[in-house]
């Protein structure tokens, strides 16, 4: 499978010359299988760029949402397939105890936040909504998908995508170190462990430095150090630090990578921070 990074930024789109390389669009990763299936992980502002990636319109698109914070759904309203009556769209997202996925997404896809009602889209019956719970497994084309609730404010899931022997774990908003003074605990007491165990590619929250994290405990995100410790615990082969803080420009992120390369030699996995447009062959 191939993972294409369309949006790498966390919290808020941050375009500008100072973020041109790592990217300013919010979370969106397209996963393409050798059989032609396309999964889209999150619908941040990077989703708008998906059309340019595809050689031809797809008959079906599956959007797997980790949660419904705005930086993960804002691109939805600007996704051309939403307005194409020929495209079947499946939206997957975390179940809530109070409202279904469709109702919660309608909060965004309706005035005054957005001019178009969900119900006014052409052939709205081609949209399917799937409320997913923890430890759910389902198949889309050649992909097997597994879910788990993870540590982040509000219902939030991570996804594990597998095809043949290749696997990708996607935990863009994840604070497994919350309340753990000496992170990590054993795997069975660590959020996201089962999902990410042995993944070929681990896309993981790395919004903060450890110094910044101290002022953001409980906000649902990780420091780079936490992402390293988590990757080591789960035995990932490659770590992709993701969900870059809006205040971290290209020079700052280059500096972080250089610093950790210096301070953490000999890690048992490779580290490649997410950059917008990057393509990873997985497995």
């Amino acid at each position: 499978m191939k993972a294409v990074f369309l949006g790498t930024r966390g919290s808020l789109a941050s375009p500008g010359p100072e973020t041109a390389r790592y990217g300013g669009n919010t979370s969106c990763v397209a996963v393409q299988g050798v059989g032609g299936t396309v999964l889209v992980l999150d619908a941040g502002t990077g989703l708008r760029r998906l059309g340019a990636l595809l050689s031809a319109p797809l008959p079906r698109v599956d959007l797997l949402l980790t949660h419904l914070h705005l930086d993960h759904i804002q691109g939805l309203g600007f996704f051309p397939a939403l307005y194409d009556p020929e495209v079947e769209i499946h939206l997957w997202g975390p179940a809530s105890a109070t409202q279904c996925l469709r109702t919660r997404l309608t909060r965004y896809l309706s005035p005054p936040l957005f001019p178009v009602h969900l119900r006014d889209l052409p052939r709205p019956e081609r949209l399917s909504f799937h409320d997913v719970v923890s430890s759910e497994e389902f198949s889309v084309g050649e992909f097997r998908v597994r879910t788990a609730f993870v540590c982040h404010p509000g219902p939030t899931v991570g996804y594990r995508i597998a095809a043949d022997s290749a696997s990708l774990a996607y935990l863009p908003d994840h604070e497994p170190a919350l309340g753990v003074p000496n992170f990590p605990l054993a795997g069975d007491w660590t959020s996201g462990f089962a999902l990410a165990r042995g993944a070929d590619l681990l896309v993981h929250d790395a919004q903060y430095t450890l110094e910044e994290y101290k002022d953001h405990v409980g906000w649902g995100h990780s420091a780079w150090e936490h992402a390293f410790a988590f990757a080591e615990l789960v035995g990932a082969k490659q770590l992709v630090p993701f969900h870059h803080d809006p205040a971290h420009d290209d020079a700052f992120l280059d500096g972080l990578l250089a610093r950790y390369s210096r301070e953490r030699p000999g890690l048992p996995f490779s580290v490649t921070p997410a950059t917008e447009g990057a393509v990873f062959e997985v497995g």
């Binding site: 719970v133 540590c151 219902p155 069975d188 007491w189």
Partner: protein
């Protein structure tokens, strides 16, 4: 190694910061975590014991009613919360390893996760006198 559900993980992390005893059991009744204040009641540290099956932890202290008679397990709030899936509260005494009887208030509630998943139960102990 299987991973605990996120609700259990977060409950453990919360309990580890609380100053009153907290016991966390899974759907089988296995005691999967107790915090530092609970260690005084059990007389053993969690780091030493690890998880304990219900047969083991339920005999670590002896619950007694107002007259000092032993309480059957199904009268205990934690057992009610787990078996009947509802919150339960009771005041009773426990005879500890030092043979002293401590009066405690116990509130237990089931843990129901997203998607109506039954995950176990939690008990909070509150010592009210000896």
């Amino acid at each position: 190694m299987s991973q605990k559900e996120i609700e259990l993980i977060l409950m453990r992390q919360l309990a580890s910061y609380l100053a009153m005893p907290v016991f966390l059991v899974d759907t089988d009744g296995t005691l999967i975590y107790y915090n530092d204040p609970a260690e005084r009641l059990l007389g053993r540290r969690f780091d030493e014991t690890g998880e304990m099956p219900v047969q083991e932890w339920s005999t670590a202290f002896t619950p007694v009613d107002e007259a000092g008679a032993p309480l059957p397990p199904d009268a205990l709030p934690l057992v009610i919360a787990l078996s009947e899936g509802r919150p339960a509260h009771r005041r009773f005494g426990i005879r500890g390893l030092d043979n002293a009887v401590r009066q405690i208030e116990v509130t237990a509630f089931p843990l129901l996760g997203q998607g109506d998943r039954h995950l176990g139960a939690v008990a909070l102990f509150w010592e009210v006198g000896t």
